[in-house]
Structures are given as C-alpha cells and as structure tokens.
C-alpha cells in the first residue's frame, strides 16, 4: 500500500505531494512539474521513461527521481530501500503546525483537469481534507467501524483525498 504510505510519510515530513495522472504524456507532466515547482518525482518502473523525459525538460536530476518499488533493471532509489534505511536512520522532527496553521498550510498540490484550457494547480490545505472527512463522518457515520469501503478511485485523483483519511 505504498501510495498512501508515501503520502503520509510526506505529510509527516512537511513535504507537499503533487499527484499527477500516471498516463500523462511527458508534455503534460512537464506542465504540472513546472507549475508545482516539484523538486522530486516518485514514480513506478512502468512510467520511468516519461518521468525521465519530463524531468530532463525541467531540470530535475535523476538523483531526485525514485521508484515506488524495486526494479532489477533500473538503478534508482526505491521506497522499500528507503523504508529499510528508516530503520537505522535517526528520527526526524515531524511537522508541527502552530494554532490555525492547518487552514493555511498546503498539504497537497493537486491539479484540476481544467474545464477550459490546461490543468490548474489547486492548493489543498491540511484543514481542507480534515473538514471533508469530518463532514462525511457527520453525515455517514452509521456502521463505519469494520465496514470495508470499495476504493475504486485512482489515488492520484483529488476526489480520493478525503476517502482514505
């Protein structure tokens, strides 16, 4: 389950995930990388070719691209190795927000499909997602514990943000 693992690891560190559609062409990905000013790319071996092409166009070095799973053929840092490294690495100082900061602090930098024109970046605060979850709980809380929900939405999509929180 390393898509959500990586999201929450990012939140704990105070990093901002900007989730992109994995079937974006390099050209489409470049648009999001530029607007979000992403410094790192987390991808899957299947999509490394497009990721590299887009990264090259915006000047993200290969050392800042990492994979969600190990790959025999690709020599990139990967999430399972980073998790192993975390066993011996010192503890980090987790993100600690000051009172009221959750409404201003950007948690996610999603992109709207942009009804007209190119996709647009949307600043999602920590409080934005938490408010969605609390509202959903207030309306739909009957029988939540132990009930499995069918999670069929793609995790990169902003629709999904409140659902797995």
């Amino acid at each position: 389950m390393d898509y959500p693992t990586a999201l929450w690891a990012g939140f704990r560190l105070g990093a901002v995930p900007s989730c992109a559609n994995p079937i974006y062409t390099p050209h489409e990905l470049v648009h999001q990388l530029k607007l979000s000013k992403s410094q790192f790319i987390l991808t899957h071996p299947t999509f490394i070719k497009s990721a590299l092409e887009a990264a090259g166009q915006v000047g993200i070095p290969e050392s800042r691209i990492f994979l969600v799973e190990k790959s025999e053929k690709l020599n990139f840092v990967n999430v399972p190795d980073l998790i192993e490294m975390g066993r011996t690495a010192p503890e980090i100082i987790p993100l600690k927000l000051s009172p009221g900061e959750s409404k201003r602090r950007v948690a996610l930098l999603n992109f709207s499909s942009g009804t007209s024109g190119l996709p647009k970046g949307v600043l999602i605060s920590h409080s934005n997602v938490i408010a969605n979850v609390c509202q959903m709980y207030a309306l739909e809380s009957s029988g939540t514990d132990g009930t499995a929900c069918n999670g069929c939405l793609p995790f990169f999509h902003s629709n999904t943000d409140p659902y797995f929180h």
Binding site: M1, D2, T5, A6, W8, A9, F11, R12, L13, G14, A15, V16, P17, S18, A20, P22, L29, Q32, L33, S36, K37, Q39, F40, I41, L42, T43, H44, R64, E69, V77, V79, L82, I83, E84, M85, G86, R87, A89, P90, E91, I92, L95, K96, L97, G100, E101, L109, H126, I130, A131, C134, Y137, L139, D145, A148, G151, F155, F156, F164, H165
Partner: protein, 97 residues
C-alpha cells in the same frame, strides 16, 4: 495567503449542525487523532486500514503507521527531501508486490 473578509449577509448556513474540525496536520489526524480532540473517534490500531482486492493483502493502522514513520525518515536521509519541498507523485495506485 491572505484571509478573505466575507460579508456575513452573504453566508448561507446549512441546516446541519456544525462539525468540529481538528486544527492539525494530516499525519496526526490519521494516526494520532486521540491527541487532537479525537473527532471522528479514533478506531483500534489493529483494525485493517487497506485491503488489496486482487491479492487479498491487508495492512493494519499500526503497521501502516510504522511504515509511514520509517519512510519519512528514509525520505529525509535517503532522498534529502525537506519540509516544504514538493514531490510529484506520478504513479498508479500501488501495493507492494
């Protein structure tokens, strides 16, 4: 970001009661909710957080929390990702294989 002044006359109120919205970050909200007002009430740590339908693989909240903590250290020391950095996630839903 600046706070926007809203004319109170332009606010339409819901017929539903207000819900409390914990003032915290998303990691604490999911894994340390009892420390920040406990709304919605935190569940047991050993309950299942995710089930991968094709493989049947499951992960509990406490296992997921441990994995998240280890990875946050790995991102910091292995990738040199810092607070405030933006990371583009360019991948499909993923389960370790």
């Amino acid at each position: 970001m600046t706070d926007i002044q809203i004319d109170p006359g332009h606010i339409v109120r819901s017929s539903w009661k207000d819900v409390p919205i914990p003032d915290t970050d998303l990691y604490t909200f999911v894994f340390r909710r009892e420390e920040v007002g406990n709304f919605p009430p935190a569940g047991r740590k050993d309950r299942i957080a995710f089930i991968d339908a094709p493989s049947g693989q499951k992960i509990t909240f406490s296992e997921l929390d441990e994995r998240v903590k280890l990875l946050s250290r790995g991102l910091s020391y292995g990738m040199n990702i810092k607070c405030g950095d933006t990371v583009c996630f360019y991948m499909p839903n993923h389960v370790p294989s």
